[in-house]
Symmetry: C2
Subunit: 394 residues, 2 copies
């Protein structure tokens, strides 16, 4: 049946899609270390250190800060299912594929959904949010900070003020922003915040950091119904991560080694420096892409540095370009999801992939592929435009 | 805040607890390989090969056979939440900590629970199951094949016959049996079967293989309510694993590398040989433990080869013995869970840990520790009894 299944030697890819990004070599190394169990005193130290490092990355003092044992989608489900009880009214700002997924989960746990829709690629309008908040009393407002489907970075502080003025909790998806762009959980008063391991943190997929404000934890304590998921029930999981060490489930040990090392890398670099690096390489990449004549998809002023979106030029085949990049250059970028399928490219510069070398390599490869595909462009213009941003153009 | 958090070099443990077991060196190696994305054509091959290898390990032709992206508890939740709708009647055979957890999940998804309780450490009585099935029409009967909390291996074929005679689906937890003791999903007509990666397969924790029979899939298709978990919704996940490749969530790539390699190891050894190896080492270990005067906890004739349970002798401190084993020998074994806390030891011989070397090493260390703790026993008797089973005693 399966006798022909041999050893697996994956090809070396440059992962510039919407995630996963490449694993940092230091993270890859720690995953090869010997396993201890989830009850080992040495692992308890790892847990405490991970919480502490995550608090730094999230810029929070929240004690309920830990990685959920699943991918970013599990983080989303943990956030929503723990924050919402049947009948709770939830306002979701929908401006992309992943905020739409939030809506599906709100309905799946019997929340009463109110949508504020924004055109994909545009900033959520605080006025519209305020108007909706005035019409009906909601428990939770949900927003995707960094929409992986559109390349938008939504502004948080102003909407957070509105949310709290109306006595609601603010639930924020930071899957593609944590460790890549400014995020200040406490300063911005974010209440339920989750992320993923495989974007700007350069871990393999499989863990979803989450943090709850004291207000969100109070709401959790006041629940009348049990959390809809047993596996993701934070009323229990928090006591496995705190000093009680009450067994809940076997943690993905190796992925937790990886998460801790990723967060050490964040700490060593420093958040501010890391944010600036992502911003700088984003600017160089966008300058290069625009010099090729490609049109940005996301609204100016709100572009996500860790995920860059441009429109596929007319007459050019999305699939062919991505296929050639993968086959000829072993570079992966993302196509459009949902309603922009075939219309945009999504180019990730996440964590250790956000470098000048990556930007120049990618621009050069894309230029070559586009030329082969018959797109008219002036050779070297992209490279020169990027280098001008770096200030190293000759 | 966290500036003192240095590199992590875990101690080398011999993991003889209830899981995780030690990672096989070949599996550790593949986890250090470069990452491809979950949309890479090379990864699609991995997915197909994993399904095929899992079908062999489960002894099934079920097309819905894949690893859930979470630990064994996520596998349990996936099995229950997909099989049960609000109001469905579910009979759970409760004979340990993990079957009790199944009950909690049944209630959490609004199933109507019927318990058939069996004393911990004893075999479930088919007569009792039949009596319960005669009283009320149930949709699902759930049973833990290998109870990690008691060391019991419950007999499946006879109960399966009863379940199907009464038109129900049979849901079986094989977390600690898959790859360690006889399990024949198709021959035994098991309908919803899940497992974990970190027991007899020697992967790190974080994946939960699952398989659904055509009957179970038909029931899934006939659901009137959406599955309570979005993350674990098999009506969607199956189409990411089949030829549709419909994106659902980012799979834990590295853990899937590990799972595939683990299953290659199972295939290379062959299931029958692997089952016999586990049985043989189990017998040697139990002979050694009994030669020390320790009393088995699980009923004779139903002992789980991958997890051995004995009673803590009177006057001996459970915690002290396990502490010394960990500190002086870097060997981890498990204590009792729930109602047998402090009363039993749980000694795992799982996958690559089920060897003569492990058995002799452990018996020798335990003998030394027990002697220090003041337990009277005749030196070398355990070793001799084990070696007699191996047929190498001199």
């Amino acid at each position: 049946m399966s006798s022909a299944i041999g050893e697996f030697n994956p090809p070396e890819r440059l992962l510039l899609g919407p995630g996963p990004s490449n694993i940092d070599p230091r993270i890859l190394q720690v995953m090869g270390r010997t396993l201890v169990s989830h009850f080992d005193p040495e692992f308890f130290k790892i847990m405490d250190e991970t919480t502490s490092l995550l608090q730094y990355a999230f810029q929070t003092a929240n004690s309920l800060t830990l990685p959920i044992s699943g991918t970013g989608t599990a983080g989303m489900e943990a956030a929503i299912y723990n924050a919402i009880e049947p009948g709770d009214r939830v306002l979701v700002c929908v401006a992309g594929y992943f905020s739409d997924r939030i809506c599906q989960m709100v309905q799946r746990c019997s929340g009463e959904l109110i949508r504020v829709d924004t055109e994909w690629g545009h900033a959520v309008d605080p006025g519209q949010v305020e108007a909706a908040l005035k019409t009906s009393k909601v428990k939770v407002v949900a927003l995707v900070h960094a929409e992986t489907s559109t390349g938008m970075l939504q502004p948080l502080p102003e909407i957070s003020r509105l949310v709290h003025d109306h006595g609601a909790l603010f639930l924020v998806d930071t899957v593609t922003s944590l460790g890549g762009c400014p995020l200040k959980v406490d300063d911005w008063q974010l209440d339920v915040v989750y992320s993923g391991s495989q974007k700007c943190l350069n871990c393999p997929p499989g863990l979803a950091p989450i943090t709850l404000s004291p207000q969100a934890e109070k709401a959790l304590d006041a629940r009348k119904h049990p959390v809809q998921s047993w596996y993701l029930d934070l009323t229990q999981i928090r006591h496995y991560w705190d000093s009680q060490r009450a067994y809940h489930h076997t943690l993905p040990i190796t992925l937790n080694y990886a998460m801790r090392e990723a967060l050490r890398l964040v700490q060593e670099e420093g958040l501010e420096a890391r944010w600036q690096r992502h911003q700088h390489n984003h600017q160089a990449l966008m300058a290069g892409l625009q010099a090729m004549g490609l049109q940005p998809f996301a609204q100016a002023g709100y572009r996500l540095p860790s995920l860059n979106t441009v429109r596929v030029p007319e007459g050019i085949s999305d699939a062919k370009v991505r296929g050639r990049l993968l086959q000829d250059y072993s570079i992966e970028i993302g196509g459009g999801l949902g309603k922009v399928k075939g219309q945009i490219w999504r180019i990730g510069l996440m964590g250790c992939n956000s470098t000048r070398k990556t930007v120049l390599t990618f621009l050069t490869a894309l230029e070559a592929v586009l030329r082969v595909e018959g797109y008219a462009l002036s050779t070297g213009a992209a490279w020169a435009a990027a280098e001008e941003v770096y200030g190293t153009a000759r």
